[in-house]
């Protein structure tokens, strides 16, 4: 059996100097991180994800239990030793002025350079390799504050990689990014684990992306308990849906995403094939219909989508009434009335 790179025994996390004096955020946490795996920490806001990550990276003390890294207690690592094992990317954007990408990534060499921070040839090699891993070669001399959010986040990941850690810990690295940026970062993390042997632990709110790219999920519920398993197992067991349960939001187990449940307009039957059917279905759900698809024994409101030379046409039928539309927009406008 594989031994984990990092594991916790009855870990208790939280804060000590507040009111009340001890605020426990999570307890009885028994977690494992293996070499080369990509783990996503997911859970609703306020579940304590950041607290857990800060505790695991030694930025705040645990309240109880143990964290063992390579068989040694985390508390016994000096800051410098820990910097050789774990590096981080934090949520809050950094505030630096005139700093080039190269200079920022070179900061990752901090634990390796001497008192006067002189960079050796090898140090610069590592900087270059780190930039290559995140696909940011060619950006070396660009100013950090002039990069896009996504580019900046990649540079921050390169900085963390330049520290040559065994474990890379990220706290919501996709928080400020647009959708393509999110996909790109999550894919990058997946590749770092898969092709470069890094152990990557990240918290994220992008459930869909986490489920598609993570080897395992740590599913943190508001009570501070963590269920862990492969994304698919957690969905099939129903744990995933339970943790994120909200009124009128339901998890579509067939498509793997959350949807708003709204059947206020009643039922509609949809006939059609392929992409046109899928996107018509989404439009109908959006305006509040419950859709049954290709149901032959359908009565009442029916929508038929069929391909024509110029694209598609949509026919709406209800009893004697029949109407034809040439785009989904006008179809939806009509159905909304």
């Amino acid at each position: 059996m594989k031994t984990p790179l990092l594991f916790t025994q009855n870990l208790e996390i939280g804060y000590v100097n507040g009111k009340p004096a001890r605020k426990v955020v999570g307890s009885e946490l028994n977690l494992e991180l293996f070499q080369g795996e990509f783990v996503c920490l997911v859970g609703p806001n306020g579940a304590g994800k950041s607290t857990l990550l800060r505790t695991l990276t030694g930025l705040q003390p645990s309240l109880g239990g143990e964290i063992l890294l390579s068989g040694k207690k985390l508390a016994q690592f000096s800051r410098k030793e820990l910097a050789n094992e774990i590096s981080v990317v934090l949520t809050s954007p950094i505030e630096v002025g005139a700093m080039t990408v190269n200079e920022l990534v070179a900061m990752g060499r901090f634990p390796f350079t001497g008192l006067f921070d002189r960079m050796s040839e090898r140090d610069w090699d590592v900087v270059r390799q780190s930039l290559e891993m995140v696909g940011m070669l060619g950006f070396e001399e660009r100013m950090v504050h002039k990069l896009s959010d996504g580019e900046r986040q990649k540079v921050m990941i390169a900085r963390a990689l330049a520290q040559e850690p065994r474990i890379l810990v990220l706290d919501e690295p996709t928080a400020y990014l647009d959708l393509p940026g999110r996909v790109s970062i999550m894919n990058l993390l997946h590749e770092l684990a898969r092709y470069h042997g890094k152990t990557v632990l990240t918290s994220t709110h992008d459930l869909d992306l986490a489920m598609r790219s993570a080897d395992r999920l740590w599913l943190m519920s508001p009570g501070g308990k963590i269920i862990n398993g492969s994304p698919e197992d957690l969905v099939l067991s129903g744990d995933f849906q339970r943790v994120f349960a909200r009124d009128r939001i339901s998890f579509d187990i067939m498509n793997g995403h959350f949807t708003v449940v709204d059947n206020s307009e009643g039922q509609v039957c949809l006939q059609g094939e392929g992409q046109a059917k899928v996107w018509t279905e989404r439009a109908l759900q959006r305006v509040g219909y419950s859709v049954s698809i290709n149901n032959e024994a359908c009565v009442g409101l029916r929508v038929v989508v069929s391909p024509v030379d110029s694209g598609y046409v949509w026919d709406v039928m209800e009893g004697e009434m029949k109407k034809r539309f040439f785009d989904i927009g006008s179809l939806v406008d009509y159905l909304r009335r």
Binding site: T57, G58, L59, S78, R79, K80, E81, L82, A83, N84, I86, S87, V88, L90, S92, I94, E95, V96, G97, A98, M99, T100, N102, E103, A106, M107, G108, F110, P111, T113, L115, F116, D117, M119, W124, V127, R128, E140, E141, R142, M143, H145, Q163
Partner: protein, 355 residues
């Protein structure tokens, strides 16, 4: 590839350093010649190189008035700017400096307490202090400065807001000033006058004997700073990042505390509280060199600080007139609009250390 050498900002850093060096020589030369009495440069060289044939009064003016004053100004400019740079990085606050955060007030409190406590009936502050007491004076001022700075650090750890930090400094400054006022209240009128003159700030009045104390003290504090650029650079990413990079943040903080409070404390003890040089010079350096890197910024603020202080003193002399303005009048007149500019620039969404 040597990326350290490259710089895409189009800034010729060596060129700027040379220009700044020349500028320093220029303001020093100007300061030597100009004043209430105008002395030709040729005569000055004669005095500097010990040649005879110069009017006795000129020799006196240069040797015992203008030269020590210029050396003091250079030391003060260097010390205040280096202190301000460290504090801006450590507090992550573009407006941090010894004056604004009330650390100068701490220094004056230290001096006042030392004098009263030691029962030196002679007088308050420099005019009556013998050379024997100079080191004690520096120590007292540095301890006072360090105490206020330590307090701000301690309380400041709980607040992340730059504005709150400034308000904290302001309040500490008021509180310590009140204590100083209390001491003065129970002092003789001539001491009160001495204090008010001191509080205007001045580079003159520091003797060669006192400079023999001031110079090594400043040198030691700068020596500490020479070891800190790596840590200060890491701190630019924020304390959390710095910690995960293996930086011993509390040790760095202690060293900065010592260096910055000795630098500002020693100068405050001898020259009075001098405003705005500490806050302005680091910004000039960042703008001029387009860099964040303390390896460059430290030598840059040393040079620029010296230039600014000597130039401020030059303006204060109001060449051609018999008047001499208090140095603080000059630094405030130029410094206050500069700080306003920093604040307004920030409002436009610029980051705190952006150039």
């Amino acid at each position: 590839m040597k990326p350290e050498k490259t710089n895409n900002t189009g800034v010729n850093r060596t060129g700027i350093f040379i220009l700044l060096g020349l500028l320093l020589l220029f303001v020093v030369a100007l300061n030597l010649t100009l004043g209430s009495v105008r002395i030709p440069l040729k005569e000055i060289f004669k005095v500097l190189f010990g040649q005879g044939g110069v009017k006795d009064s000129w020799v006196f003016i240069i040797q015992d008035y203008r030269l020590p004053k210029i050396v003091t100004a250079i030391l003060a400019g260097i010390a205040l700017s280096a202190s301000g740079l460290q504090m801006q990085t450590m507090f992550r606050n573009p407006l941090a400096d010894p004056f604004i955060l009330g650390i100068n007030s701490g220094a004056s409190l230290g001096v006042a307490v030392a004098i009263m406590g030691a029962g030196l009936a002679g007088g308050l502050f420099i005019p009556a202090l013998s050379a024997v007491g100079d080191l004690g004076l520096v120590a007292a001022a540095s301890v006072g400065a360090g105490a206020v700075m330590g307090l701000i650090l301690l309380v400041g750890k709980r607040v992340n807001n730059p504005t709150t930090l400034l308000i904290l400094g302001l309040m500490f400054g008021h509180a310590t000033s009140a204590l100083v006022s209390l001491l003065i209240y129970f002092s003789a009128p001539e001491k009160v006058k001495a204090y008010s003159i001191w509080s205007y700030g001045a580079f003159n009045g520091v003797t060669w004997d006192q400079l023999r104390v001031l110079f090594p003290v400043i040198l030691v504090a700068l020596g500490i700073l020479a070891f800190l650029p790596k840590g200060l650079n890491a701190l630019l990413l924020g304390e959390d990042y710095a910690k995960t990079m293996g930086l011993n943040v509390s040790r760095l903080r202690t060293l900065v505390l010592i260096s910055a409070s000795v630098l500002s404390g020693a100068i405050t003890a001898f020259c009075g509280p001098i405003g705005f040089i500490g806050v302005a010079v680091p910004h000039i350096a960042r703008n001029l060199f387009k860099t964040y890197n303390h390896k460059l910024l430290i030598p840059a603020v040393v040079l620029i600080g010296a230039i600014v202080a000597v130039a401020a003193d030059l303006i204060a002399q109001m060449p051609g007139t018999q008047f001499v303005l208090p140095i603080n009048v000059v630094t405030s007149l130029f410094g206050a609009p500069f700080v306003l500019w920093i604040v307004l620039k920030r409002k436009r969404g610029a980051t705190s250390f952006s150039v």
